[in-house]
């Protein structure tokens, strides 16, 4: 039953749509009417219609070729930082931020350098000479940058050392406390316990 109702509604909607498409211009078009009329205008009969307002679709783009996104090009561009001020690689920026004009230009530079016969390492070197180290998405692993790579490992080592050291030291104290408690006569506190009690009482009376 509900399927029949849905189909009827769909038929009604289609009929309304075709009616809307036939509404003459100047008859107070709504947003929907305007959409349909624009679409009809954009299809002059050939297979490749033109947009009525091309600039509203953003910066014009070139047709993508298989080479644009080949494994080598992608691998290279994922290592290079786009210099437009974003925080993205050239590959991510040019396939994400379609308002950016920097990343497509850097992409063309990568293709040109590949065409000139440069190897991957030579291309990366060329970019570094041009822009400095900031061109890489990961700082090169030498010199002062090693501090950045090794500090987390040093932190892990120091942290582990501290935790294990503290646990062992506390473990010894706890074991000694247990032995002393076991040795002490019923109702008699150890010197440490008395010290703690004294400290608490002083704090309590202050």
């Amino acid at each position: 039953m509900w399927r029949k109702s849905a189909l009827s509604l769909l038929a009604l909607a289609l009929a309304a749509t075709s009616l809307a498409a036939q509404t003459p211009p100047g008859a107070g078009p709504s947003a929907q009417d305007s959409a349909l009329s624009r679409q009809l205008k954009a299809r002059p009969g050939d297979s490749l219609g033109r947009l009525e307002v091309p600039e509203a679709a953003g910066r014009g783009v070139a047709a993508v070729t298989a080479r644009d996104n080949s494994a080598l090009v992608r691998a290279l561009e994922e290592k290079i930082h786009c210099t437009c001020g974003c925080n993205l690689s050239v590959y991510t920026c040019r396939t994400t931020d379609f308002t950016c004009t920097t990343s497509p230009a850097m992409h063309q530079l990568v293709l040109a350098r590949l065409d000139s016969g440069m190897t991957e390492a030579q291309i990366l070197d060329a970019f570094q000479r041009q822009y400095g180290e900031m061109i890489f998405m990961s700082p090169p692993r030498h010199g002062f940058n090693l501090v950045m790579y090794f500090l987390p490992i040093v932190g892990l080592g120091v942290g582990l050392g501290l935790v294990v050291g503290v646990v062992k030291r506390w473990g010894k104290v706890a074991a000694r406390d247990r032995v002393e408690r076991a040795a002490a006569p019923e109702g008699v506190a150890t010197p440490e316990e008395l010290e703690k009690l004294k400290h608490v009482l002083e704090h309590f009376e202050a």
Binding site: R38, L48, V61, N87, T95, T99
Partner: protein, 675 residues
């Protein structure tokens, strides 16, 4: 109205200074009249900031474009929903929101704790007043939301198109609520340190605030991820952007605190560490705002940069010196009451959990500020991108997931071999079976296999706890299983809410592991042309470009590219990806066209289509097509996480545990010594 708002800010500044001064005097002299005056100052601050906020909102809604802030972030044709959100879209408005929320939470904290913690209350009021004064002074002297222009433009510049998204309406306030609510635990920590009242009483006062803050931060972070995913069009949700990191850092330290505070409440240990975590979390929340507002590190959030960075830097230094200085002063009073007995115990597991969380926080902090360090030391600016963050954080994250399973089940003090066998036999079996099964189907990424195996381990530990708890209630009380389940959770919300949070974390890790299988391609298609895209699950999507249409919609002109989609021959529907050209009330473009992606989502994967643009103004379109496995689990994992947080936060009749209550009283120390 804006003049009234401006006057309110000036009066609030003076009252805040008065409140801070009398509050600390009240604490030192124990004068009740000064204490009352300090408390009333906070209420007055709140009232004045409410009026100032109402004045700004009035200016926004009435399009008073003579006000610089209104002209910069709204336009006549901006929908009311987004006009409302423009309140915090820019720096000036968000400073006002910060100040308003700090004083709101401060007032609530003072009312809720009236008659309790009398030695702490004046210092709490004083610290809140100091924080509020900082934000009000920044507004008054550097970034006034009521600043007027020398002329009145006919229309405003409108809201950044990327902010015209429902995710952006809720994401910033959630993060602000998270950041600001850390001020209350910080205020209590300062109060405990200044007054020397360092038993667990102050921890009881802040328990809900820390959970609330953690919950707001969690929701804010997940909403931010959702916004980035649906709005930015790069097919991901986390890019280790400095501003993302700024919200993640206090979340990490708060998560560490929520775990380590249990050791202090149960065993009287880690007192210095816990105060350090609270102070550190507050400083990181200020650091986050500093990073966002100063523009010190370039990021996609550059629309939020301006000149208040120095104010935040000075505040950061002052709060750090003050907070850690007080901790150093009270160091001798913060000795542990008992000592840790074994490496194989819950205390040790929580210590390792804290170690990993803080190490992740340290790494994220270091990598975020490394470009500044490198520039300062060598004069060479470097870029630290996602590959470096992932290199360090993936193994640490997996270690954290393992500890998520171990921590809740291992015994306090010292676990016996029998305890370990009883608790970890089935989780270990589940982990090994999962790893073997994934290896058998030739899953290609070791880190993903490990993540799913550890996820199975944690899931079984949680399920086992629920099954055993419900079974015990069923046997002891003869309750029906659903009733036993409800009562089990109701009687120990903190524990079982925590387990639900852990399940949420497993869902999130499962989603993150799925990123390894992401597939993406770029194609250029004429109308009627098709492309086949193979899913990592083995099926094939057949996508046919239908054409491009253009039409008006609300405050924008839309260019929509449509694709018919079928999966292995079965028609799924039409997906429409858009370019939106936002217009002002005179029909002029306000910014470059924004991208609106088309997403078809289910529990297994998302089909994500981006309309990159048209070729030479024709209907030939360039598409980016992404298959993103398991993204659904990020959003629902976030929901489960929030649900678990709410269970934990829900008021319980029992209040703190007996051990924790005992530690809140001076005599409790004697009881511990004798135990």
């Amino acid at each position: 109205m804006t003049e009234l708002g401006n006057i309110c800010l000036w009066i609030a500044l003076l009252i805040g200074l008065w409140g801070a001064a009398v509050a600390f005097m009240a604490g030192r002299t124990h004068r009740a009249d000064l204490g009352r005056s300090a408390e009333r100052s906070i209420f007055a601050l709140w009232g004045l900031l409410v009026i100032a906020s109402a004045a700004l909102m009035h200016a926004l809604l009435t399009h008073d474009f003579n006000v610089e802030y209104v002209a910069a972030y709204t336009s006549r044709n901006l929908p009311v929903f987004y006009t409302w959100s423009a309140f915090y879209a820019g720096q000036k408005g968000s400073l006002l929101l910060w100040a308003l929320v700090v004083t709101t939470f401060g007032s609530i904290a003072l009312v809720v704790n009236r008659g309790k913690y009398q030695e702490l209350t004046p210092y709490v009021a004083g610290t809140i007043a100091v924080i509020a004064v900082f934000f009000i002074a920044t507004m008054v002297f550097a970034s006034n939301p009521f600043e007027r222009l020398g002329f009145t433009p006919p229309d405003g510049r409108g809201l950044n198109p990327q902010l015209q998204n429902p995710g952006m309406v809720f994401h910033p306030p959630m993060l602000y609520l998270g950041y600001t609510s850390i001020s209350i635990p910080f205020a209590f920590a300062v109060a405990a340190l200044v007054s020397g009242k360092l038993d667990t009483g102050w921890l009881h006062a802040i328990r809900r605030w820390t959970l609330l803050s953690w919950l707001f931060l969690s929701c804010g972070i997940v909403l931010g991820m959702w916004w980035a995913y649906v709005e930015l069009g790069w097919g991901g949700y986390w890019a280790w952007d400095p501003v993302e990191n700024a919200s993640f850092l206090p979340w990490l330290t708060m998560t560490a605190f929520l775990h380590s505070v249990m050791i202090q409440e149960k065993r009287g240990m880690l007192k210095k560490w816990n105060i350090g975590l609270v102070v550190g979390s507050f400083l990181l929340s200020i650091f986050g705002t500093f990073l966002t507002r100063s523009g010190v590190i370039s990021s996609v959030h550059s629309f939020a940069q301006s000149n208040v960075g120095y104010f935040f830097l000075i505040a950061l230094v002052l709060f750090a010196v003050g907070g850690f200085g007080l901790l150093w002063w009270r160091w001798p009073m913060l000795q542990a009451e008992v000592q840790l007995e074994s490496m194989v115990s819950r205390e040790a597991a929580f210590l390792f959990n804290n170690l990993v969380l803080i190490l992740i926080a340290f790494t994220v902090f270091l990598l975020t500020i490394w470009p500044i360090i490198s520039e300062a030391v060598r004069g060479t600016k470097v870029t630290v991108g996602p590959p470096v963050f992932n290199l360090v954080n993936v193994p640490l994250g997996l270690g954290l997931l393992l500890l998520t399973g171990i921590g809740p089940l291992i015994a306090w003090r010292k676990a016996s071999a029998q305890n370990l066998k009883r608790q970890f036999l089935w989780p270990t079996v589940a982990m090994l079976v999962t790893a073997a099964a994934l290896a058998a189907i030739r899953m290609s990424y070791a880190s993903s296999i490990l993540a799913y195996a550890l996820g199975a381990f944690v899931t079984v530990t949680v399920v086992q706890e629920f099954v055993r708890g419900v079974g015990a209630r069923h046997r002891l009380h003869g309750e029906m299983l659903p009733l036993a389940f409800v009562r089990l959770v109701g009687r120990n919300r903190r524990r079982y809410g925590g387990y639900v949070v852990h399940l949420g974390m497993v869902m999130l890790f499962a989603a993150f592991a799925g990123l390894a299988f992401k597939r993406e391609t770029e194609v250029t298609l004429k109308p009627g042309q098709s492309v086949d895209v193979r899913s990592p699950y083995g099926w094939t999507y057949h996508l046919t470009h239908q054409g491009i249409s253009q039409y008006d919609e609300l405050n924008r002109f839309v260019t929509a590219a449509s694709m018919d989609v079928s999966k292995d021959g079965k028609y799924l529907g039409t997906m429409k990806a858009e370019k939106r050209q936002y217009l002002d009330s005179m029909g002029q473009p306000t910014a470059e066209p924004a991208t609106e992606v088309a997403i078809r989502s289910d529990a297994r994967e998302d089909l994500y289509i981006v309309f990159a643009g048209s070729v030479q103004g024709t209907e030939q379109a360039v598409y980016k097509i992404v298959i993103n496995p398991l993204v659904w689990w990020v959003w629902y994992g976030g929901l489960v996480l929030a649900f678990g947080g709410l269970i934990t936060l829900w008021p319980s009749a029992q209040g703190p545990t007996p051990a924790s209550r005992r530690r809140a009283e001076p005599a409790g120390y004697v009881a511990q010594v004798g135990a």
